[in-house]
């Protein structure tokens, strides 16, 4: 454990020096501010408190931003070490590859956590400023924060795996962008097309919800919208959200977070320095 913490400490330092922390925090804060400003119209007609509405719009933002940030932070993790030539030496130390990866993972998760806390914090403050009753949405915000971390963890793992398989930072960056496009954009477009073609048939009612669960980004959206009171107002996938219990969506996120790391370790173990 001390070895994992040693690695994590030095990775956090590197992330700060490389401005990843600053970039992630600035990105989250900026988007949260824009969302809050855009959503500052009166919300009386929905009947939900201001913070719950904010959480709903933060959810649709986080679905794009959190995987992107996680992949940006992680794609260089193994490929960068190979390129710099720092990997052979570290592998001769009495530290396992799992411990090396865990150190990076903890550090990068902490960076994500700081960025999320800042962004969501800004949005929450804005909500409280407009609506004294916003406290009712606090639990939704906490849920959003924790599930965002899980979503981030899943994509950190995926990013490491891509990094180890690609071996070159340039190739890893390309593969990471591809991964983001597939999981966050194309997957949903494909599902949408299939649902339309199906016209409310058995695919839409039986298969579609499970396919949503299979993608961490969709599971994240389902979990937060299903649990949110504002779901009915904000959700495009609301229909499916109602048929899937939030606990299942949360389980999917947990499995992805753990599975992402396992996948990364598997790929990292196959790297020959």
């Amino acid at each position: 454990m001390t070895r994992v913490m040693a690695g994590a400490g030095s990775e956090i330092r590197i992330a700060m020096r490389n401005r990843w922390v600053a970039i992630a925090v600035a990105m989250m804060a900026l988007f949260a501010l824009v969302l809050s400003a855009a959503g500052s119209a009166p919300t009386g007609q929905i009947g939900a408190d201001k913070l719950s509405v904010t959480v709903a719009s933060l959810t649709s933002l986080a679905v794009y931003l959190v995987p992107l940030l996680a992949l940006l932070i992680s794609f260089d993790a193994v490929a960068g070490e190979i390129e710099r030539g720092t990997l052979p030496l570290i592998l001769t130390y009495p530290v396992s590859r799992g411990e090396i990866l865990a150190g990076k993972f903890l550090a990068h998760l902490a960076v994500l956590g700081i960025a999320l806390l800042t962004g969501y914090g800004v949005a929450a403050l804005a909500a409280f400023a407009f609506d004294p009753g916003a406290a009712a949405g606090m639990h939704a915000l906490v849920r959003l924060l924790l599930s965002s971390l899980l979503l981030g963890a899943a994509f950190l793992g995926a990013g490491y795996a891509v990094s180890a398989v690609s071996r070159r930072p340039g190739a890893a960056a390309g593969a990471a962008i591809g991964l983001w496009l597939v999981f966050v954009v194309l997957y949903d477009l494909g599902l949408l097309a299939a649902v339309i073609a199906d016209g409310g048939g058995p695919f839409t009612t039986r298969v579609f919800p499970w396919l949503l669960l299979a993608n961490p980004a969709d599971a994240f959206r389902l979990y937060n919208l299903a649990a949110s009171e504002a779901a009915g107002a904000a959700a495009g996938v609301a229909g499916a959200a109602q048929t899937i219990p939030p606990a299942l969506a949360l389980s999917s996120l947990l499995v992805w977070a753990a599975g992402g790391f396992a996948l990364a370790l598997l790929a990292f173990r196959r790297v020959r320095p």
Partner: protein, 295 residues
């Protein structure tokens, strides 16, 4: 501490190592010599467990290469040591210390030992190649390693730093560390290592002390006799040597004839000013053993 028995490693059609058997005992310093591509780095990486041998057996401190026990006993300095440019020397060494279960506070003393105390808190990105090499050496000194594997450790070091470096190695060897270091700067390992192993195209073509290698090679010894302008012709005739210039006569002789030749020279008495005996250089030996293996 280290034994390699009949180690072979192939990369596709390239035979980087063939049947290499080599041992390094506690407190022994072995220089691994060979031209570029001879297989020095490959041998070191198989010893460290970074790449598996195709066949043959290696034991490091009683364990298989790459085993935890082997890694705990071994320090490595890679060829062209690289570090994260965003970390300072102190932070980088502190990380390596903690990975070996040592307190990070020892970083200062280690950096001082390799002469980096001034730059300890600057980022490694600003270091010169020689300074990075010293960071590499500092990390190799962590926690009294029982085996040190150093791949071209003095490349990028200036002559003074090289001398300091070999002084550190001598200290370590005195304390029982087994040291395997590779180099292609032959002259510098001559007086500073206990044994010399020569790799040529993946095969170990020599493995002995310098004195024994000299004897085995039987290369001629060169004797330079300094005479005076008025005696040089006479000296050359009597010794049957070659006159090189207005005052110097050169002779070559086999190892066994050395003393009788020196006796002849001594008998010339006042006709000569000085005499210099030059044993075959390591370069000559290296060429001899590499060439012999080719035949």
């Amino acid at each position: 501490m280290l034994t390699c028995s009949r180690v072979t490693r192939t990369f596709g059609a390239v035979e980087a190592l063939r049947d290499v058997s080599l041992a390094v005992a506690e407190g022994e310093r072995v220089a691994l010599l060979g031209h570029n591509g001879a297989g020095k780095s490959t041998l070191m990486k198989t010893i460290l467990g970074l790449i598996p041998a195709t066949s043959g057996e290696i034991r490091v401190a009683g364990a298989a290469p790459g085993d935890r026990a082997a890694r705990e006993a071994t320090a490595y300095l890679p060829e062209n040591a690289a570090f994260h440019p965003a970390l300072t020397g102190r932070e980088q060494i502190a990380l390596y210390l903690r990975l070996r279960g040592e307190p990070a506070s020892k970083a200062g003393a280690l950096l001082e030992r390799v002469g980096l105390e001034q730059a300890a808190d600057r980022r490694i990105g600003t270091y010169s190649k020689g300074m990075r090499q010293r960071v590499g050496l500092a990390q190799a000194l962590i926690g009294r390693p029982r085996l040190m594997v150093l791949d071209e450790p003095t490349s990028g070091l200036d002559p003074v730093s090289r001398r300091e470096f070999y002084a550190i190695l001598a200290d370590l060897a005195r304390d029982g560390t087994a040291i395997l270091l590779s180099s292609h700067a032959l002259t510098e390992v001559e007086a500073r290592t206990d044994r010399i192993a020569i790799l040529s195209k993946g095969r170990l073509v020599a493995n002995d002390t310098l004195a024994n290698l000299r004897r085995e090679a039987g290369l001629p010894i060169q004797i330079q006799v300094a005479a005076r302008p008025d005696t040089v012709g006479d000296v050359a005739r009597r010794l049957d040597g070659t006159r090189v210039n207005g005052v110097r006569v050169d002779l070559t002789c086999a190892h066994g004839e050395k003393l009788s030749r020196l006796g002849q020279i001594a008998r010339l008495g006042g006709m000569i000013e000085d005499v210099e005996v030059i044993p075959p250089s390591l370069e000559d030996l290296y060429t001899h053993f590499s060439r012999r293996a080719d035949q």
